[in-house]
Amino acid sequence: MSDTLTVHHEHPANASEFVANDSRAHWHDQSLWFVRSKRDKAAGTLPEWEELRARASGIKQHAMSRLADYLEQFERNAQKLGAVVHWARTPAEHNQIVLQILQKHGAKKVVKSKSMLTEECHLNPFLERAGVEVVDTDLGEWIVQLRQEPPSHIVMPAIHIKREEIGELFHQHLGTDAGATDPPYLVNAARDELRRKFLNADVGITGVNFAIAETGGFVVCTNEGNADLGVSLPKVHIACMGIEKIIPRAADLGVFLRLLARSATGQPITTYSSHFHGPIAGGEMHIVLVDNGRSDILGSADFRRSLNCIRCGACMNTCPVYRRSGGHSYEATIPGPIGSILAPSRDAKTHKSLPFACSLCGSCSDVCPVKIDLHTQLLTWRKQISVRGLLPWTKRLSMKFARVLLGSTWLFTTAGRIGRWTLPKLPRFMVYNGLNPWGKQRELPPMPRQSFRELYRKRKSK
């Protein structure tokens, strides 16, 4: 799992490795562009789309401005419904709380539906070390679990894996026919195996998409119904959520559910939007509220709006860099544009290359259903990285140099004249070599004899 990524690489190195396999990189780009196109069609069916985005953003910003109050209201109402509410400051506290609940029930087998929060807390390896079997029951998530990889996308965890590779994986783990790639056949094999896991599970763990302060209930959105089955068969349900999942009223759900599935996959709504209000008869429900740095983000005017995120993944599907470098190239629980904001908030030094894994095209900000100003926040992170002295010295030095050169009109025009005169006369190997990343795949522009200012001066004096 994520722990296996012990040696950290910068994004450009990982990305160039991904790009080196040209046909695969294009396959990945096109798969995600297909999802982006489906999203465009679905969003286009709602004349009120931009109005919905504005409402969602407003509701989230309001909820974040009174987060403590809404969390306590949620806790009170959830308790009234019979749930036990736990508070965790850190991933370690979260994992310990979950383990204690499992131990209390002597649970050895857990089924888990998709939850980016438990990925963030590295819950699976923690529980496995404690002798608990954890099975991810979302098909994509289960596939990456079998491959001992982290998800590469928050909505489509196995989007980087080809059908043939899944056939091979299932052949090894489930004994399906060698070379089988037929999706219904593979899905049925997975269903049989997962059904056994569901029937034997002691506890079901789910994530939370929306927690409603007013009612104390919460909603989990899936397409496979795995969350529902996972918490209907076992008697104990543990729901793990980041504290930013709060929305004030049940009526607000109408805004978010309409935006979420359309943004994520282009569906009008997820197949299952399951509402949970307290434990099932004779069972137990635990809700674990996790901070893990969210309060710090809330305290920062620059990055607060990143807590609006409803984890739809649209910014990943639209990001031209994500599509061509793959989710794993980010080496963060959440990849892509939103991940490149959240990861440095936790550990700027490790993730300092992420805000630069971006051409600042702004597509993410325009696609985001809750109007997070993603590309502006990425630019703000670049400043933070510079201020904290984390920029590589080459970048720092070249910018100091540029400041001097461009600061003086005489230096700028003189350097320009010398450059334009010299470059065409140099032998090719002196211009195109390992020191010039521009020239690896690109020619430099032809050098004009005169600059614009020289032509302008001449024209004026005529």
Partner: protein, 255 residues
Amino acid sequence: MPRVGLFVPCYVDQLYPQVGMATLELLERYGCEVDFPPDQTCCGQPMANTGCTDDAKPLAEKFLAIFKDYEYVVCPSGSCTAMVTHHYEELLHGQPGFEELRKKTFELCEFLVDVLKVKTVEGRFPYKVGLHNSCHGLRELRLGSSSEMMVDRFNKAGQLLAGLDGIELVTLKRPDECCGFGGTFAVAEEAVSCMMGLDRIHDHETAGADVMTAGDMSCLMHMYGLITRQKKPIQVMHVAEILAGRQPARAIVPN
């Protein structure tokens, strides 16, 4: 007669003088009194986008001093214009003349359409043209509607180009995907940058374009570099060049 201070991006001044000349001629054609203040260098965007705000600030201050007294400031680049109108705020906040400067600075097509109220540009360009929508012009200046947003469709450069005689604007599969230039991104993330550029070129080629045009020469410089290395026939021209009546450098069979 509008008095325009011509803001020519540093790399356009040094590497693409013909784009500056085309801009100058266009503005004069529509009755502007244009002046190029010779002290100008760079708006500071490379430093600001690398996070080096302190290194960008003196350039922003220099820019304000040079341009503050013009009636309008016009620039043939969406990206450099956006630097002034969207990103100078944190560098020049509260400085005398800045608020006025921000409001009177325009990208070329925006100035032609919104201020000079140009409906159609006289001229003939009988070729198949692909319009690359440079990102900062599109999503910061809103020179057109972006494909992500569900709003009424418009495009200022496209509208001006469409008025030329004989021109055919081709339909792209991805109308506004980034070309991957991105300033220092082009070298820091060389592999992804070049893949993005090649994909963008491919989209234009498949759509049948003979010429790729854009409001930003930086995108075109990046794609020209790839096109030339791969010896592709497609050509690049800045929107200002086409609107000013320039023809492709290499002969193309007209429509």
